[in-house]
Symmetry: C2
Subunit: 267 residues, 2 copies
């Protein structure tokens, strides 16, 4: 049977994360993978279980998650995403579908992933319009973006990121390569932290963002970042920021398994 990939976007607010969760004896939790498997099974008239490139946590959003599945697909592939959208809830959208080699593995084949963490700078006694609250973290303290930029540059490179991983990361190696870590400002008093790399440990982007926010608030010195990385001590890094500020923005694959016309630029 042929193998296919899907590009997906979702508002993670009302999902218990990407991964299917069916606790024994209880109703299955509402997950993106669960909704997608249901919609695929309905459209393709056969049980389908897809595999996601990134196990986003509850509350984390995606502009371009990639999922793969193997099935006979009688729907023309360029129309599959529209057929799925007719059966998916409004908070998850299929954006495209394409055929991939039979051995396509969305996790292992990914060359790099890009995430954005977005923070709203709150001024004392100034309230924000409530329209984008599902997509950012509100920080109540004054923030020095220049300090954050200096600290962010220290994240780039191949390092042991043990200090930036959840204790239950479950991986043998905590060495990862961060390709870029950029801090910038957006309209409406927002700060973005864009992190890309070849792979991320559990909670790694949210801990990097939390550490950079502590730097911005003046509670961690930017020059201390290399030390914190070298010490591998989770307690010296910042808090894990809440999920709603995080979104998966793109995943790059080699040309032979990329979305047609998007080559090395799936975003």
């Amino acid at each position: 049977m042929p193998r296919f990939a899907l590009r997906l976007a979702y508002d993670g607010t009302d999902f218990h994360g990407w991964q299917r969760q069916e606790p024994p004896g209880l109703a299955p939790l509402r997950t993106v993978q669960g909704e997608l498997d249901r919609a695929l099974t309905e459209v393709l008239h056969a049980p389908v279980a897809c595999q996601g490139a990134s196990r986003t946590d509850a509350g984390v959003h995606a502009e371009a998650q990639v999922a793969a599945f193997t099935a006979d697909c009688r729907v023309p592939i360029e129309r599959l995403h529209a057929a799925l959208n007719a059966r998916l809830p409004e908070d998850v959208r299929a954006l495209a579908a394409w055929q991939v080699p039979d051995d396509f593995d969305p996790v292992r084949d990914a060359r790099s992933k890009g995430y954005r963490y977005e923070i709203a700078r709150m001024q004392p006694f100034v309230a924000r319009l409530p329209f984008d609250r599902r997509f950012l973290h509100q920080a109540m303290h004054p923030i020095d973006v220049e300090r954050m930029r200096i600290a962010a540059a220290c994240m780039v490179g191949t390092h042991d990121f043990q200090a930036f991983a959840h204790a239950q990361h479950g991986r043998e190696s905590t060495v990862r390569t961060v390709h870029a870590c950029d801090v910038g400002t957006l309209p409406d008093d927002r700060i973005m932290i864009d992190v890309s790399g070849n792979g991320f440990l559990y909670n790694m982007v949210r801990i990097i963002a939390g550490t950079l926010l502590e730097v911005g608030r003046g509670r961690i010195d930017p020059d201390a970042i290399p030390d914190i990385i070298a010490a591998g001590d989770r307690s010296r890094a910042g808090n894990t920021l809440p999920p709603q500020g995080l979104r998966l923005r793109w995943i790059h694959y080699p040309a032979d398994r990329s979305e047609p016309g998007r080559g090395f630029d799936i975003a």
Copy 2:
């Protein structure tokens, strides 16, 4: 007792509209006014019932609703909105509070109100990112914005808008003055319809938007608009578009009852 005004913003998606609804024998419905009265009563330690300038329907949003109440306010007025926000749910925010003359009536004193209706132009087989879906109406057909502009210009002026009112509008006169009706395009394939005027009938902005959309789709001729207005026949105007595309953007009051520093520009 002194009288005060509040500027409020809300995401109307999860509210049964502005107005308090307490069906006898049933639990009160979740409304913006209900939440605000509860928060005001908690903050001011006395029962408070506020009056809104605009009875927005279920699902309609506001960037700057105005509400008035009469009460002893021991909180410094420039901090009242922050005290309220600590007790309001995240989808409604108090943005400012100021004292007004004792005879302030937020409905009667309003000189003009501005609404925006936002439409996303959907291309065949192209799905939108699901991040702003709570704030727009998705239109599936090709739309000619130039035609909409010509029709929009015909709405401006003092007319009997009976053809653009819900049958249960409940008003003696259906004559209203539309100050401006502008159609424009926004990023991400969105169309905005900005309507301002001295007052609006029930569903009037949503019916104007629905009529302009029919014009954009080619099903109503732009030159027919003056006729439709003159005939006063609801059935010749377009559909009432759904609430989520609509937001109340500003309300103007005379200088002696405007928010300080915002004069005739509350937005």
